[in-house]
Every structure is written in C-alpha cells, then in structure tokens.
Point group: C2
Chain length 194, copies 2
C-alpha cells in the first residue's frame, strides 16, 4: 500500500488501470485508449512493456490471482478451527471485494475465459490456475471434516463458491456470500454427520 504522493512507474500504473477498468466494464469492451487514458501512459509505453493488449490482460490477471491468494491466506491463518478454515474462502471473498475501491462485475478469471474463448493459452491458464488453487486447498481443508469423502465435500464447496460469484453477475440473491457460506456449511455438516 504505497501512500506517498509519488507517481507509480508506468508499468505499475498500467497494471493498476487494467485491474480497475478491465474487469468492470469488460475486457473486450474496453479499448486500449481507455487504458492509456486511465493510466496516463502513452501507447508506445504499453507496447514496449507488454507487447500487446492480451499480454497486459494476462499479466493483470496473474497479479490479481496472486493478490486474491494473499487475502485468502490471511483469512485461513485467522480461522480458529477446521470448519473455519474451510469456510475462510467466503470471508476472503467478502474482504477482497470490500477492499478494492473499484467495482468488479463478478469474477475476473471467469469473465476473461468467457470473453476471450480463443485467447492465448496465457489467459485461459489463469482460470485454470485459479480452479486448481481452489480445488487443492478446498480438498485439503475438507479432509479433517469429511475424511474419505473429502473430495465430494471439496467439489461441493467449490460449486457453492462459484455460485456465489455468479450471483454477483445475476444481481441476485442480494447477499450471495452469506448464502454460499450457509450452503457450504450444511454440506460440511452433512458429511461430518455420517
């Protein structure tokens, strides 16, 4: 969190602007000029740093994934018990969305995969990495709660999490994170009961 009045270097400004504009108004709907204007950067600078709009998008997505992972980490260590660690992904989502001062329509990775179906592997790879991260961690946290059926529970929590994200796009229901957490908790209880 840099709070000095110093201007960030051009590359950082571009990434920040991309994160702010791209995932709110839409990736394809945002022309390069809008990014340049937001970042107060010239076109030549963008292309010397990144080479193409797609490459900038990919890098912005990677940064975002790393940020999101960091926020999730914090909520995992702050959790008190096994159930708390499993459900930490929902607290992290609430925290991540609260902390970013610019809105995101829903999930940058899912949106990118939808908007750029034939995109370079670089871009779709970030969604794959996000899914991989979710699947691995949720399986890990499911084990102490569901034992042999941990995989089933992990799949269910991943679905609840994805459903929460999609609810932002639908604009319904109104507190999707609460609903998703409830859903995940009842799934966990269902598995730990048997």
């Amino acid at each position: 969190m840099v709070t000095t009045g110093q201007r960030l270097p051009a590359r950082a400004r571009l990434l920040k602007a991309a994160d702010q504009v791209l995932f709110d108004h839409g990736i394809r709907a945002t022309p390069v000029d809008a990014l340049l204007q937001q970042a107060e950067v010239s076109a030549a600078t963008l292309y010397t740093h990144f080479g193409s709009k797609d490459a900038l998008v990919a890098e912005a997505l990677r940064v975002r994934l790393a940020d999101w992972q960091g926020v999730w980490d914090q909520h995992i260590v702050a959790a008190g018990d096994d159930m708390g660690r499993l459900l930490a992904v929902f607290d992290a989502l609430a925290s991540y969305r609260r902390d970013q001062n610019h809105p995101s329509r829903w999930c940058a990775f899912l949106a990118a995969a939808t908007e750029l179906p034939a995109a370079a592997d670089e871009i779709s790879a970030v969604l794959a990495a996000d899914t991989e991260l979710l699947a691995t961690r949720l399986l890990h946290f499911s084990r102490p709660l569901a034992g042999a059926r941990a995989q089933d529970l992990a799949d269910e929590v991943l679905l609840a999490y994805s459903g929460t994200l999609t609810a932002f796009l639908r604009g319904y229901p109104h507190s999707p994170i609460d609903v998703g957490r409830r859903l995940a908790r009842s799934a966990a209880q269902e598995h730990s009961r048997s």
Copy 2:
C-alpha cells in the same frame, strides 16, 4: 422436431444457426459472416428480418429461454414428490444439455451478460428473466420443504444451480450436475430438519 427434408425458412435457419454457433464460440467472437454461412442465408435477409446482429442475438436468447423453460416443465410434472420438484431443475439441465447436438460452453444468458455488458436492455433483460424464473419457481418448490425459511432454501438452490453452470466453464468438477444436486439436497434436508 421437424424431420422432413424441407429446408426451414430463412428466419428459422438464422435462429437455429445463432443458437448453434453463438453460444459455443462466443457471441462477440462470432462474426456475422459466420452466422450467414452456417444458416446459408444472405446478409440482406438477416437485416430485413432482425435489423441488427444484437437483435438476432436477443431473439435467439429469448427462444432459448422458452425452450429451456419447456424442458424444465417436463421434469417438474414427471417428479414424484416435493423434493423431486425442487431438484427437477438439475435433471432438466442434464436433459437440456444432452438433447442439444451442439455444445454450449456453459450458460448462454450468463455469457451474454458478460460479453455484452453495455448491451441493449433487450439482451440483459433475458438474463433478468431467467433469474426471475429460477427465483420464482425455486421459492415455490421450497415452501413445502422449508416453510417459513423457504426463501433461504430457494436462494441456496439457485446458488447451487449457478455454481453448476459455472463449473462447466471451469471444466471442473467433472460431474457438476451431480454435485449441484447433492448440494441442493443437503440444503433442503438441513432446512426440513429444523
């Protein structure tokens, strides 16, 4: 299901082609020419019938919503009990995806809203209609199972359903419909227990 060798009229061919191509390769990624080629129709015909690509997209989405609703209807009447009616949406989804001979990446309405964020109201209205349909019906079927907390249950099932759709986009988990159904069932049981 027309099985005659007769060629469909141009308007119907266009709608069919739109449904086949648009929601697989992506709406923005599919140029008008690809639709014309698939439908074996000239450009002039498209524009006399629909006026614009966006209008064709909107109409194709409306047709799709009506089709989907019809499939869902069938599975509702075929269901045997309250729980079956609530979960019929998952059976309908499985049936709908099986019956269409062309693949859909995930959900046409959610994809359209993502790809065309600033689209004419016509297009975003279809996602709103889909959400409205889901919310209304799920609330209706939740009542006999959850009574006063029917709204909570309906919200949860909608999230499970949305999560299932999103899982297709992620490519994970591998049988999202089964996972979604399990999630919805345990939510329903949780509510009927209390």
